[in-house]
Amino acid sequence: MESPSAESFLRQMATLQALERELTTLSQSGRLRGSLHLAQGQEAVPAGACAALQPSDYLTATYRGHGYVLAKGCSLDGVLAEILGKATGLACGKGGKMHLFDLSHGLLGTNGIVGAGVGSVVGAALTAKMDRNGRVGLTVFGDGAINQGHVHEAMNMAALYQLPVIFLCENNLYAEMTPLHRSHGNVNLLERASSYGMDAIQVDGNDPFKVYEVVKKAVDLGRSGGGPTFIEALTYRTVGHYQADAGTSYRTLEEIEEWRQNSPIKRLSARIGPDAEKIIDEADELVHEAVERALGSPDPDPATALQGVFA
């Protein structure tokens, strides 16, 4: 697999940016329920990482994972309709933003519990190894999630069984409002991961090419039976943790501004030049139309609420 072009990366990232802009508006106007966790400033990680995956590879992500879901190839219409609680959503409106599933694209779920999706991908990777089908699994989680016991258990087992898993840790310097140095005895995450017996590598998460490159290497290693890899992608959330957090009470405006200047979309646009604007405009339009379609989609039949606990 060749690396996608800069244009292709920008398209992916701009789609995520546009989606989040639309969702913010919908949330502010009360048309979107519940909390909304945005990934602005972090767009390069999903774009770069998912480009290295096949549709049949496995993925789990978090409440902040819609960018991965889209980059993995799931339908924008299905995702949007689910986020808006529509009958046409990926989960018929039952799951919502935090619970996106699409098995046809290897998406085993986004998750509302910090760290909880990590074990699933390890299990799916186990089946890939059993069936020798060459698939890999990627799970994305945050710098905060690494302090959750479940993640530790799952990482050890992936190393133990030498499973084809990529542990992609988005280090955006904060877990909610808590910086790493107030939550980690040792902020060097690579040491922790490699202590389980796997390769661990850090990458500039605001450069989709670099993310692609390290993930691709990890994917190749996994496919060839070489076991798991831990990747720490350094990035920054330039907005609040969720819609009700301005994100400014625990970070300086200078820090935020510096990262905004360094935002992956800015960086890539500069590299692409004048064409970038067109790509971004197209993404905006594409997403806007999808939002209109989703808003116009039918609400789920209330009777379905009481059905479907068991298959």
Binding site: R33, G95, A116, A145, Q148, E176, S183, D299
Partner: protein, 327 residues
């Protein structure tokens, strides 16, 4: 009396107890520097310092284990679990350790530990952020469960929980956090195990707690104008239970509806219904009704969620059903 919100009332209780007893301290996620996801711990770090208001990693099992150890070492820890749904990552610490330690030690060890948490639905928070899991903590013995419905009770019960020598799970409902009400200034205590008869009545007893108290209030008011006299009881704590108030009420009305937001199977409704029929069988003129969440995970979409959780119209219907009236 001045009005403050439920969250502010909790904040006052915490501040009061922290001032009063130097062995009280708090531990939890984003409670110190940020002041808590729901502002319940706002300003406490500034007043009491980082040593007593402690931010933790996302390690619920770890910090609840620490709270247990601190309690055994003589402190009165108050641990905040941001959502009750997250209790499930720490269930071994809570149910196998915190709840059992006093008994397992033959009484030698005391565990004066309060877990403050937030739960409930109606906000589109979906299946993993909308639960009310109180039944799990009632089933395994050893932890008290407190479920206030008003700002004043929140303050009084939280102070009482912290002063209790036992583990207490204190549940704030996300729909109540911004509710305003009159709250006494200074010391205010509501004993655990005392229900509150919100409105006396003669036709039917409605037993409820936490947010559904507010829904029931509206329904009861409305029904009274149709000549239906409901005795509305806010249980306030589920363990200990105020059995005297329950049995007095049932003995008067002979009809009972239990309303709660959590699931039905092995929930609080069946628990109370079974105990009432066991103790007061001959007093009952009709089957005891239960109005609860349907036994499905909480769905996201508004139209689905309101199909699953108790609503005023479903509560009204359930009351009339217990009364044998046409619905």
């Amino acid at each position: 009396m001045r009005e403050i919100t439920f969250a502010q009332a909790c904040n006052e209780a915490l501040r009061h107890e922290l001032q009063r007893d130097s062995s009280v301290f708090m531990i939890g996620e984003d409670i110190a520097h940020y002041g808590g996801m729901f502002r319940v711990t706002d300003g406490l770090m500034a007043e009491f310092g980082e040593d007593r208001i402690i931010d933790t990693p996302i390690s619920e099992s770890g910090f609840l284990g620490m709270a247990l150890g601190a309690a055994l070492a003589g402190k009165r820890p108050v641990a905040e679990l941001m959502f009750i749904d997250f209790s499930l990552v720490a269930m071994d610490q809570i149910l196998n350790n915190i709840a059992k330690t006093h008994y397992m030690s033959g009484g030698a060890a005391k565990v004066p530990l309060t877990i403050v948490t937030q739960g409930g639905g109606y906000k589109g928070a979906a299946a993993q952020h909308s639960q009310m899991l109180e039944a799990l903590f009632l089933h395994v013995p050893g932890i008290k469960v407190v479920t206030p419905s008003t700002p004043a009770d929140a303050k009084g019960l939280l102070s009482a929980s912290i002063r209790d020598d036992n583990p207490v799970l204190f549940i704030e409902h996300k729909q109540l956090l911004n509710l305003k009400g009159h709250v006494p200034e200074g010391e205010h205590l509501v004993p655990l195990g005392s229900a509150h008869v919100i409105q006396p009545g003669t036709d039917v007893t409605v037993l409820t707690y936490s947010y559904t108290v507010q829904l029931c209030r509206n329904v009861v008011q409305e029904l009274s104008s149709f000549g239906v006299s409901v005795e509305l009881v806010d249980l306030r704590s589920l363990n200990p239970l105020d059995w005297d108030t329950i049995s007095q009420s049932v003995t008067k009305t002979h009809r009972v509806l239990i309303v709660h937001e959590s699931h039905k199977r092995c929930g609080v409704g069946v628990d109370l219904a079974a105990q009432i029929q066991e103790q007061l069988f001959d007093e009952l003129d009709a089957p005891i009704g239960i109005c609860s969440a349907a036994d499905v995970p909480i769905p996201f979409a508004a139209g689905l969620e309101s199909e699953v959780l108790p609503t005023e119209s479903r509560i009204r219907k359930a009351i009339l059903e217990v009364m044998g009236r046409e619905v």
